[in-house]
Amino acid sequence: MKSTVDKSERRFNNILLLSALFIVVLLLAILLTLLVASIPAIKTFGFTFFWGTTWDVAGEKFGALPFLLGTLITSFIAIFICIPFSISISIFLGEYFKEGAFPTFLRSSIEVLAGIPSVIYGLWGLFLLMPIVRAIEMQLGVTPHGVGILTSSLILAIMIIPFSASIGRDVVTLVPADLKEAAYSLGATRFEVIKNIIIPYARSGIIAGILLSLGRAIGETMAVTMLIGNSNFIPTSIFSPSNTMASVIANEFAEATGITAASLVYVGLVLFFVTTVVNVIGNYVIKKVALEASKEVT
């Protein structure tokens, strides 16, 4: 009877191992698929793809610079807008108001916000944000597209605030109480304790949170697609319609063929690499911060 148990045991362990390896194989397959499908484009354009400024479907000449710029500009503006708000929420929930009805309400709201699908943010932005931006543009005498870099950056910022705020709050609560006490006992005000002790101590966690939010923003598709105006030209101002790497794929891939499709997959490959690098670094730092914090508890 022992040998049947051994056999079952071995079979069980093999199944576990195979499943685990399946994950690795899956990821490699994804990478390989992207590479192979973009080969026609890589062969034709090589690295000039990255600074090519025209995306010409008819003439079959493709350069991804407009989308690299679109992604970079919208993501950075979004992060820039998001930082003061998410740090405020982090400090609000992690330091000033840790308990109580309102903090619980705020925390739940943040979780609900984080769960709302991107396409719904896009819908809301289309009917409520766009008219506002259009009105601003008319005031300023700019072509009132309503959509473009500004609008999509705004919706991106709204979307990443919940995510970065919850990371920030976790990181702020990890600061050991005895360090804060030491600072108070030396005569510091609460603001000084936050500025000189909490923020520097939580610094790497905060940066990791920003990195992870950046990764989210870069890969964000639907809301951006709906609000960025679908223009394949290099954006000239914050009011220009544009496209990000994600949104150009969303707009064009379904009907693309041949070299167009390969170029879009090439864009997807670049997108994949950028988000992977940002996410892996962010995750690594967060893991280190959590590890250090667990060591403090003696």
Partner: protein, 281 residues
Amino acid sequence: MKDHTAVRMIKDKAFRVIVILLACFSMLPLLLILYYITRNGIAVINWEFLTQLPRPIGETGGGIFNAVIGTGMLIVLSSILSIPFGITAGIYLSEKSEGKIANIVRLCVVVLQGTPSIVIGIVAYIWVVAPFHSFSALSGGVALSIMMLPVIIKATEETLKLMPYHLKEASLALGVPYYKTILKVILPTGLSGILTGILLSVARITGETAPLLFTAFGNQFMNWNLFKPIDSLPYRIFYYAMSPYPEWHTFAWGASFILVVLVLAFNLIARGVAVKWKVQF
């Protein structure tokens, strides 16, 4: 030594006010979004909306029945594809806390989780749509299941890691083989955590649109065939929102209301399961 005390106290109070203001201000988008969805969405929802199919352009009325069913089918399909692999991989990782393979797998999970959904859509297109020369529910299910995997794996690993060692010991001491201990003792005890992970991953993919844009693709009509395009709530919302017809815009709000309710419901149930079904030690 100049005494800056007064200035410092002012800075302290000012900072507190600013933090409170900014934190409260950030609640505004949530309130606005929920308000508009509820206000515009509820107005559209009626029995016809929920049970009828979309009418062609120009005709009024109709509903989103196919989208609701489609979303349901996609959820079932992607769950079937992802749950077995997700749980078993999660068990593997919880058993092997060290080890090169385990760490590589963990890294892959991190990368998978951060991969943009549109990139996964491209891959599903190449794997399932191109060979069959047709958009299909199957390809949508494949894309969504890839997105569910990391969440399920992480939830399983973390839940099982929390299981106290004495539970295993008790079973092993009774002569139960190790693999049976995992299957019959550890796994059932950790069921609530694993179920929570599954529900949360379902909540995540219910609202996903990007990978469906060129896999499931969307369908005016009702479709039960896995190899043909299928409609879904997110896709319909996108399609109607970007259209020029005001009536379709109202439908988009209605569909959004249903979608938000669905996603929130999954999240709440997940939380409920985590709390109510949790085995206490």
